[in-house]
Symmetry: C2
Subunit: 288 residues, 2 copies
């Protein structure tokens, strides 16, 4: 298996779907749509959609069933980045090497573009519900994106800047802030075929999410602005709770290895698990 | 019919439903939940839920079917107020006579509380889908809340501060920013019973929405801070496009009367239309 070829094939399938969906965004205002599309198309690894398509292939789920959810999930991921970058939140000027949404469209429009993308995600989900399986996929996405999941993790992340510097808090932030949407990426294809492989994919997704985050924390101190496309050393400078600030660089690398092994173990008896293992190598080995 | 009694009965039914739903909000973080609940329970006329219950009663739709959508719609309305009040948007310190969300919880948490409420609205919607009627109600809500509807109107409102001072723009802002959620309140009960009375309720809801907004514009210049519970004369001071800034106070009052009559006419042959007409009197006659 050529991992890079297959990754870029999945990515291309997703990009084509996204492009055709974007054309149908129904906005009463062109500037708002421009702001939405800017962040949706500014680049990025599309790792969540790629995971979804890869898991769908393992479970033999029709790509046409999973693609609307992949677009919805990427819209949710994108809105969260727009809001995260706002001056009142992380105050970032750069994202994926380009000016952040509020730098281009202004703060007010960036807030609204985020809101509109979140809404649009559910427009897509609701239009894609045709049976109990797709309904349960939609419910899982909503649960993992909101106060219980991603937004809850973002809130805890903010609170942790000044307090709550414990291991349990670190784990809870990462489990929710980055982890829940990555977990949703592995579980939605399972929902779409009546929960086949759900428990194993749940273990795989949880550990993949933690691996992703610890790698992010490591890159924040070891990568360069050029490679990362965003400000480096931000976490340490802002007194954020990360694997590196809590365990040091070597400790963080030890955790990365542990999550990698656990994720791999979870899917060891899947017949077609080569690409899913490749994704773990991709995450642990990435330099941006 | 005692309008006030019936209004407060509907309101109480809604408040009880909201209270029990709030208890089930699943947040991984207590501060985030506190911020969500603060704005959800800070008061307000609950006009959208009241409209939904009133229309449901006219159409003989089971309140248990409509109440989850009423809570979802109120969550969407509430999140939009939280984001609207932010310094980067309208920069308001007061809402319903109380400090705005970001004044109490800080800007970052207010942004996240808004995001979480929007998400939670769709959590409720997705949990309440049991058939094609409830699915079509969910789809209508998503369409009217997003870039095509409310968020699109908010975006146009921001753009209109410096340009686009035309009658067509004013109408488009109001149709979307305030109008779409009020329209959704009249149409969701119809969706829930296979679109009974849809066209008439559509006319009623559109004109009720415009009536609501023109009254709002009038109150901005004629009411007091005490009564309104928020800053007055804000629109004029901020160079906003309103019915009053475009047509003057008398012109705005003429439009209010016109929308009132059109809304009334739309439902003239409904058997039980007394409360729906009462709602128009309530809106045109309110002093806050």
């Amino acid at each position: 298996m050529n991992f890079n070829k297959r990754y870029s094939d999945y990515k291309e399938i997703f990009e084509n779907e996204l492009k055709s969906r974007i054309e149908t965004i129904n906005s009463s205002n062109q500037t708002l749509k421009d702001a939405m599309v800017y962040s949706l198309t500014v680049g990025g690894k599309r790792i969540r959609p790629v995971i979804m398509l890869a898991v769908a292939e393992v479970l033999c789920v029709d790509f046409n069933k999973v693609l609307p959810f992949a677009v919805a999930l990427e819209c949710i991921h994108t809105y969260s980045l727009i809001h995260d970058d706002l001056p009142a939140m992380d105050n970032d000027d750069l994202r994926r090497g380009k000016p952040t949404n509020h730098k281009v469209f202004g703060e007010a429009m960036a807030i609204l573009a985020g809101d509109a993308l979140l809404n649009y995600a559910y427009e897509i989900v609701l239009r894609s519900i045709t049976d109990n399986n797709s309904l349960s996929a939609g419910r899982l996405l909503a649960l993992y994106a909101g106060a219980f999941g991603m937004v809850g993790g973002q809130a805890l992340d903010i609170l942790s800047e000044n307090e709550l510097k414990s291991e349990a808090t670190l784990y809870k932030i990462h489990e929710n802030k980055t982890g829940r949407l990555l977990l949703a990426s592995t579980l939605i294809p399972s929902c779409l075929c009546g929960n086949e492989g759900f428990d194993k994919l749940s273990q795989y997704g949880k550990n993949l999410g933690l691996l992703f985050q610890v790698t992010d924390d490591i890159l924040d101190v070891t990568s360069s602005v050029d490679k990362l496309g965003k400000t480096i050393n931000k976490d340490a400078n802002e007194n954020k709770l990360t694997f590196v600030t809590l365990y040091g660089l070597d400790g963080a690398k030890k955790y990365a290895k542990e999550y990698y092994e656990k994720a791999k173990l979870a899917i060891c008896d899947f017949e077609e698990n080569e690409f899913l293992i490749g994704l773990l190598d991709f995450i642990i080995g990435r330099d941006h």
